[in-house]
Every structure is written in C-alpha cells, then in structure tokens.
C-alpha cells in the first residue's frame, strides 16, 4: 500500500511539470519562436526551491500555511486518479465528493492566503477566483454525475476506467457533451487562456496569477507545482474518457496514455494561441455554457439510461 502510494506520487511529481512545458513550447512554436525547453518548468521549480521565502511583516500564519496545504491537498487528489497503467491507490464509492471538496480546500487556502496579504489586487483576484470556481464546481459535479450514471458507479476510478469502447457507440452523443464541458472546466480550473492568461502580470485582468504575486522561493515552487499537478489531474480524468482504448500490453496502454496527455496539452496550447482572453464579464457566459452542456449531458444520459 505504502509503496504504491509512493510510486504514484513519484510519477505524479515526475510527469506534472512536463505537460506545462509542452503547452509553453506549443505556444512558442505556433508564434514562430523557438521557446523555452520542454523541461523549463523543472528548471524553474529547481531554481525556486533553492531560494528562501520572503514574507512581508504583515502576514500571519495563514499565508505561510497556504502553499503547504495547497500542495498537500492536490497530492491527495492525485491518489484518486489512475495514472496510465497505475491504478489509483485510493478508491472508494463516493470519492468524487472528496475530490471536489479537496479542490475546494485548495481554493479556500489560496484565497485565504491571498487575502491575508492585505494587497488590494490579491483581494480582486481572490474574488474572481471564488466567483468563477463556483460555476466550474457545479459543472464538474454535473459531469461526474453523468459519468457515474454511465458507469453505474460513483467511484472515479471506475468511471474513467469503465468500458467505454462500447459506450462511445451507445452513449456517444452524451459523451460528446461531457467531454466538451469537461474541457472548458479544465481550461477554467487551470487558468488557461479564454478564461485567464497564465502569462500576463497585468493586475486588472488576471485571476490566478495575482494570487501568487506575494509568494516567493519555496512557497512559490509549491504553488506552481500544485497548479502543474492540477493540470495533470484534470487531463488524466479527460484523456481516458476521450481515448477509451485498452490493450492487454501495459506498455501500449502507457504509450496511449502519455500520447493522449501530450496531445491534450498540445490542444490546450493551440486553443491558447488561437483565442484571445475573454472579457472578464463574458467569462461567466462561457462557464455557464459549459454548465448548460453538462446539464444537457446529464439529461441525455438519464434519458438513455
């Protein structure tokens, strides 16, 4: 049990920054630049972890605790997600609730930490994050419910490991809705471009990045690692749904998984280069559309069930 958990964490920590690197690389290549190396996020994390954190004199223990809790909670979530051929070490009926609430915990401590600094921009970012995550959380729940109806189980491992090659034929249309809606949730939760721009440091428009402004050194590394793992988690939920191919050979399965993950990262990079950031008051319309998609998907799933 302990070894499987350790292997799972090792894999998560090993792969997570790579896909962020893929997105950055794709964006650079499409823009006609060479771009940073695929492993730049590893170098960044290594550099940051060698530095000391600097705290302003006004912050309390909440701000110091936030990065640790954020990383720890995200690592806990990663235990419920199958990674490639490795089954999720923690799986039980109803673990989707724990997953969603652990993400809520992450958000709570991020918001609390950023409010603790007393910096007005951080308060603005925190309020936006709280508002948009309200919408994505409902959507995520709807999608997981629909998947649960399809898989006749409320355990995440069985939902995304269920026998979908048959299902794509039978329930393909509702899967289409679920996949589209989950993709928007992935973009929103990971602060990707139509919703939030991960590269900008313009305080008036940014959502997620502004909450990291006051963090430094190891704390910042924790936060960045957490968001990389979050991307890995969301794409690990999405990839087995989109590519439900399973073979007997574990290496082919692993190759399919890694290929799918890289493909999804490339897709996110393409979306980021081909779209502009939405105006802030239109973001909620996109999120509501993803909610409507998920709701419709749930209805259709229930209709066909």
């Amino acid at each position: 049990m302990i070894t499987t958990i350790l292997i799972h964490w090792l894999l998560t920590l090993l792969f997570a920054p790579f896909f962020i690197g893929v997105i950055t690389k794709v964006k650079a290549v499409i823009a006609g630049k060479i771009g940073p190396s695929l492993f730049q996020s590893y170098y960044d994390l290594a550099r940051l972890s060698q530095k000391r954190s600097v705290y302003s004199s006004g912050v309390t223990w909440v701000f110091r605790l936030a990065p640790m809790i954020v990383l720890a909670a995200v690592l806990m979530v990663s235990l419920m997600i199958p990674i490639g051929i490795f089954k999720a070490p923690v799986q039980f009926a109803g673990d989707i609730l724990v997953l969603v609430y652990l993400f809520a915990l992450v958000r709570f401590f991020m918001i609390a930490g950023s409010l603790d600094t007393g910096f007005s921009m951080e308060g603005m970012g925190a309020s936006r994050e709280a508002f948009f995550s309200c919408l994505t959380e409902v959507t995520l729940f709807m999608n997981l419910l629909a998947l649960g109806l399809l898989a006749h189980s409320i355990s995440l491992s069985e939902m995304i490991g269920a026998n979908y090659p048959v299902s794509w034929n039978l329930v393909g249309p509702s899967m289409l809705l679920i996949v589209a809606s989950l993709f928007i949730v992935l973009l929103a939760e990971n602060c990707r471009i139509p919703i939030d721009d991960p590269d900008t440091h313009l305080e008036l428009t940014m959502i997620h990045e502004v909450m990291l402004l006051e963090h430094s050194g190891v704390d910042l590394a924790f936060m960045m690692y957490a968001s990389a793992i979050k991307f890995l988690i969301f794409s690990s939920i999405l990839v087995p749904i989109i590519i439900p191919v399973k073979s007997l050979d574990p290496f082919i399965n692993l190759a399919i998984y890694l290929g799918g993950m890289t493909g999804l990262a490339v897709l996110v990079g393409c979306v980021e280069t081909s779209m502009a950031r939405l105006r802030l008051d239109r973001v909620r319309h996109l999120l509501l559309i993803s909610f409507a998609l998920a709701f419709f998907g749930l209805i259709v799933t229930w209709w066909r069930a």
């Binding site: 509702s174 509501l288 559309i289 419709f296």
Partner: protein, 217 residues
C-alpha cells in the same frame, strides 16, 4: 446510424443554446447557419443508411435554403441597413443560458409522457425538437431587436423541421409545411429590409436612454 442521428440532434440543441449566449447578431446568424447545416444532414442518416434520392433532394434543398440562402439574406439585410450588431436582451445572457438549460430539461420531461408509436423510448428526436422549439420561443421573447426575433422564428422553424424528420415516414406533409414557413420567413426578412425596421417593432421609451447600473467586477 442512430449514433449520427443522436449526435446531430444534440448538436442542434447545443447550437440553439449557444445562440442564447451570443451577444452579436452576426454570430447568431453564423451559428444558425451551422445548425441548419447539421439539420440538413439528418435526412441522410434516417432509414438506417439506405439513402434514397428523395433523402438527397430533401437534404440538398434544406442545405441550400437554410444554411445558404437564409443566412445570406440576413447578412445582406444587416449590411444594407447598416444595423448595429449588439442584441438587446430583456434578461441577461447568463440568466438566458440558465433558463435555456431549464427549458431543455422541461422538453425532456414533457417528452417522457409523449410516446410516439413506432419510435424507441430512447429516441432523442422528439425531446430535442421540443427543446429547440422552446429555445426558439425564448429567443423570440427575450430579444427585442427585429432581426433577432426573425432568428428566433427561424430556430423554431428548425425545431419543427427536426420534429417532422423524426416522424418522417408517417407525415411528409409536415415537411411541406416547413418549407412553406421558410417562404414566409423570406417574406418577413424582405419586409424588414423594405420597411427599414432598423430597431424594434414598437416605439416605446428607448431602453438605452434609461440609466442602468453598470455591472462591476
């Protein structure tokens, strides 16, 4: 083949929902054209893949008329009277989308007790056509511009067409009714161009002149 029919039905409802979330008339017309294109492919998927010449004629006719001519006329009308492109919804886009989702749920709920003989219980054609109808009504009711009301009408018409297609074997007259409605819509659009209904039908107090609280983020 049923997978393709279901996928088309769902795409058509999704396009109606996304018209509710669009804030520019040009975008609405483009989505309408896409919706009609998907709709026009549907006759080819009926009859379990046996495509007869009648299906092809119906499909081509729909494609040319609904995905080609009608959007073209609408674009031309907009250019001709140099209309502003913002829609003027009575309720906000966000609440429109939520209401739209509820209407879709309502359509499915109603269809539970509307069993058509000879159709499988899991058939998506009936609930989806009802959903498109209701969404079209909603677009007509909540958008005040003349062109958006025509678009709402066209979406209702697409819903009727979908409804007719799902019953295609038994009621071909409905299809003819649909084509007649198309002609009516063409006349309607012409009326807009000719009478220069640039803004709204009724001349009440201009909603733009009333001071509204701005949304603050």
């Amino acid at each position: 083949m049923t997978t393709w029919i279901d996928a088309s039905c769902i795409l058509i409802v999704f396009f109606s929902l996304s018209i509710l979330a669009t804030y520019r008339i040009v975008g609405m017309i483009q989505i309408y054209a896409l919706q009609s294109f998907v709709l026009s492919l549907m006759p080819l998927f009926l009859h379990a893949g046996n495509v007869s010449s009648r299906d092809i004629v119906l499909s081509l006719g729909t494609m040319v008329l609904k995905a080609g001519v009608v959007p073209f006329i609408l674009f031309w009308a907009i250019r001709r009277i140099s209309m502003r492109s913002e829609i003027k919804p009575i309720i906000g886009l966000g609440s429109s989308i939520v209401c739209g989702a509820l209407l879709v749920a309502g359509a499915f709920w109603v269809s539970m007790s509307l069993r058509i003989p000879g159709k499988a219980a899991a058939d998506l054609g009936l609930p989806c056509s009802l959903a498109v109808l209701l969404l079209g009504f909603m677009i007509m009711v909540t958008r005040t511009r003349a062109v958006t009301q025509v678009l709402g009408y066209l979406i209702i018409e697409n819903g009727i067409f979908l409804f007719a297609l799902s019953l295609f074997d038994s009621m071909p007259t409905l299809i003819e009714m649909g084509i007649l409605l198309d002609i009516f819509v063409a006349v309607f659009i012409m009326a807009i161009v000719l009478n220069h209904i640039n803004e709204e039908f009724e001349q009440g107090p201009d909603p733009e002149k009333q001071v509204k609280p701005r949304e603050v983020f």
